[in-house]
């Protein structure tokens, strides 16, 4: 079987060569800084401290423009928030409920089963408050971009005050090293001391970006820890089973070879 395998390798190498030599005119891919994330790798988990700090960054900074519509307050229980803490966070929000017995809609404090309350009533209201731009929902942001965690981290720390001289900036846009096209409608959201961390961690720009990305990575894939834990067990089982199947196969075929 060695000859076909070699041919296969040659074919793959040829493709790889084509892959690394993109023809002229291919869209320029901005450099994204590769970070070490607590949730990457086979045994990755979300660092609990970063999650809590990231939630704080989301609520105090991002949430003024970006919704998180797929996450319910109760979901925070999966990553170590106690029922009392969840209740306390939920009660800071008001949600519309109803109709009541008189047929009226009414406002009440949010419950653990409610989802994070969006900052704007609808898309038009969001655009009206944001210079015509629509701040996207962040629930799936990490999965909705290539290399999502590194990309978002790069975007958050990638603002440059002065655009390069040859770039003509459009009205109300900000220059960002990582954003496709480099002109982004979102003002730099994070900076030194943008939040005062409840756990006393120093709120550098880097720290804030790192924490909020960890939080959003959890929001996009809350099943990640369970998935990886189960995956390790399943693969270990399969490897042992398959090795035994191979032994049985050898035994059965021994009278043929």
């Amino acid at each position: 079987m060695s000859t076909p395998m070699n041919k296969l390798l040659i074919a793959v190498a040829a493709v790889a060569f084509l892959g690394v030599a993109p023809p002229a005119g291919a869209a320029e891919a901005p450099e994204v800084p590769e970070q070490d994330w607590s949730f990457s790798g086979m045994f990755g988990t979300f660092e609990r401290g970063a999650l809590r700090r990231g939630l704080q960054v989301y609520r105090e900074v991002c949430a003024s423009c970006h919704s998180l519509s797929l996450i319910a307050f109760r979901n925070l229980g999966d990553v170590g928030f106690s029922p009392d803490e969840i209740q306390a966070i939920a009660e800071e929000y008001e949600v519309e409920d109803g109709p009541d017995d008189e047929g009226e809609m009414f406002m009440r404090p949010a419950k653990a089963s409610d989802r994070f309350v969006p900052p704007f009533a609808n898309e038009q209201a969001a655009r009206a408050s944001n210079n015509g731009a629509l701040p996207p929902d962040l629930s799936l942001m990490i999965k909705a971009r290539k290399n999502g965690a590194n990309y978002l981290y790069g975007l958050l720390i990638g603002y440059v005050e002065e655009a390069p001289e040859d770039v003509e900036m459009m009205e109300g846009m900000y220059y960002n090293k990582v954003f496709p096209g480099h002109q982004i409608a979102m003002a730099p959201p994070l900076f030194e001391e943008a939040v005062e961390y409840a756990d006393g961690t120093e709120a550098t720009l880097d720290q804030e970006a790192h924490d909020v990305v960890t939080f959003l990575a959890w929001a996009a894939q809350p099943e990640l820890e369970e998935r990886k834990r189960l995956g390790v067990k399943v693969l270990l089982f399969l490897i042992v089973l398959t090795a035994m199947l191979y032994a049985v196969k050898r035994k059965i075929w021994s009278d043929v070879h």
Binding site: A144, R227, K228
Partner: protein, 421 residues
């Protein structure tokens, strides 16, 4: 089928009236299988198992999914977040789709390398091509169901292809959509058909197996079975070999499911469909990229035929041409083992398919255009020029007289030449 007496009276009673047990004995246990099959022959049974996994996970997903443009995206996220092990079901299903194509493509390339499509297995091969076509329709419609950006725009691009048909094209597209754009009626019918087609595939697989069991398996030497000395009973020899192969496959498959579940997916499909916003690059799933490259290869009109129509015709022709392969190939031997030139050109063809895939994944600009055109030309030249010419002019080596003769001369494949001489 040899009548067998069953000791168990219940089984004997049933078998006398409906010989299911005799049939299972004949087709799954005693079934004579060439003794020299290599591991490339595992992929047929693997494809069948993947089909069953897809149907099982799919039915369970359908119990939780809502086929409506306002709820489809959220209902998929509900499966991912709130349904018990919903994330596992969905990742098994999405990655299962990619695995299905990997397995089936290997199955096809194996058939092409060892000449399994040659007489007397032409019909077996043709049924296989129809299975591939049904799989493509199924996976295309399945990809639309999560109603992400790629779902919507992929559906828009592909259904729009039919508008290239002269005169009736536009009407056909409106009929396919059930409206004037991809919208709720489109999503609903795609869901209905996505649920229906796998059962049609299942029926086709049954016919495929039926045809297989009439003419039996080809083998790496591509020579006919001469007698019982050339074969082994399917059970236990190939049941254990297939089961071991299944173990290896499951390790690969589940490694993706648990550790890189979005590896084969497009990030854009985690953005809800927005008819007002076109993504910068609309790309189909990876297994369609070679055909997508062929579709876009033609950038010029020929006489009164538009470039778009030629592209569409070539894309469908790239698969339908497989139906004629049994008659395009006139070589005196089946297996590439005894065809020194075809053996090389097979891998060139394989590389050409990969290149087409890479071209399909890139925007059609710059050097990708001529590369795509050259690769498309070569794809068709392989079938229409190279294979017929090789059949005529290639100096083939003489295969051994029988499978057992080759096997007893110390290992399959390595000493085949000696055995032949």
């Amino acid at each position: 089928m040899e009548a067998k007496t069953w000791k168990n009276p219940v089984i004997a009673w049933i078998d006398d009236r409906l010989p299911v047990f005799s049939m299972m004995q004949a087709e799954l246990v005693d079934y004579p299988t060439p003794k020299n099959l290599n591991y490339w022959w595992n992929f047929g049974s693997l494809a069948g198992i993947v089909l069953v996994i897809m149907i099982a996970t799919g039915i369970m997903l359908a119990m939780q999914y809502t086929a409506h443009v306002d709820y489809a995206f959220e209902s998929v996220e509900r499966i991912m977040r709130d349904v018990n092990y919903g994330w596992l079901l969905r990742y098994l299903h999405t990655n299962g789709g990619s695995m299905f194509f990997i397995v089936v493509y290997i199955h096809f390339f194996r058939g092409m390398y060892y000449g399994s499509y040659r007489a007397p297995r032409e019909l077996l091969w043709i049924i296989g091509v129809f299975i591939l076509l049904a799989m493509m329709a199924t996976s295309f419609m399945g990809y639309v169901l999560p109603w992400g950006q790629m779902s919507f725009w992929g559906a828009t691009v592909i259904t729009n292809l039919f508008s290239a048909i002269p005169l009736v094209g536009e009407a056909i597209v409106t009929w396919l959509w059930g409206g004037f754009s991809v919208d709720n009626p489109t999503l609903n019918r795609f869901f209905a058909l996505h649920y229906l087609l796998p059962f049609i595939i299942f029926a086709l697989v049954f016919v495929h197996l039926w045809a297989l069991h009439v003419k039996k398996s080809n083998n790496p030497l591509g020579i006919d079975v001469k007698g019982p000395q050339d074969t082994l009973p399917f059970t236990p020899y190939y049941t254990i070999k297939d089961t071991f192969g299944l173990g290896v496959f499951m390790i690969v498959y589940l490694a993706f499911v648990f550790f890189a579940p979005d590896f084969f997916g497009e990030p854009d499909n985690y953005i809800k469909a927005n008819p007002m916003q076109t993504p910068p690059h609309i790309v189909p799933e990876w297994y369609f990229l070679p055909y997508y490259a062929i579709l876009r290869a033609i950038t010029f009109d020929i006489w009164f035929v538009s470039a778009k129509l030629i592209g569409v015709i070539l894309m469908f022709a790239s698969i339908l041409i497989l139906l004629f392969l049994p008659w395009l190939d006139r070589s005196p031997v089946r297996s590439a083992k005894f065809r020194p030139i075809y053996k090389q050109l097979f891998w060139v063809f394989f590389a050409d398919c990969i290149i087409l895939g890479v071209v399909g994944g890139n925007a059609p600009e710059g050097a990708w255009v001529p590369i795509g055109q050259a690769a498309t030309f070569y794809y068709f030249a392989h079938f229409l020029i190279i294979i017929p010419l090789l059949g005529k002019f290639e100096k083939t080596r003489t295969p051994p007289t029988s499978i057992s003769a080759a096997v007893t001369h110390g290992g399959i494949g390595t000493k085949v030449k000696e055995a032949a001489e």
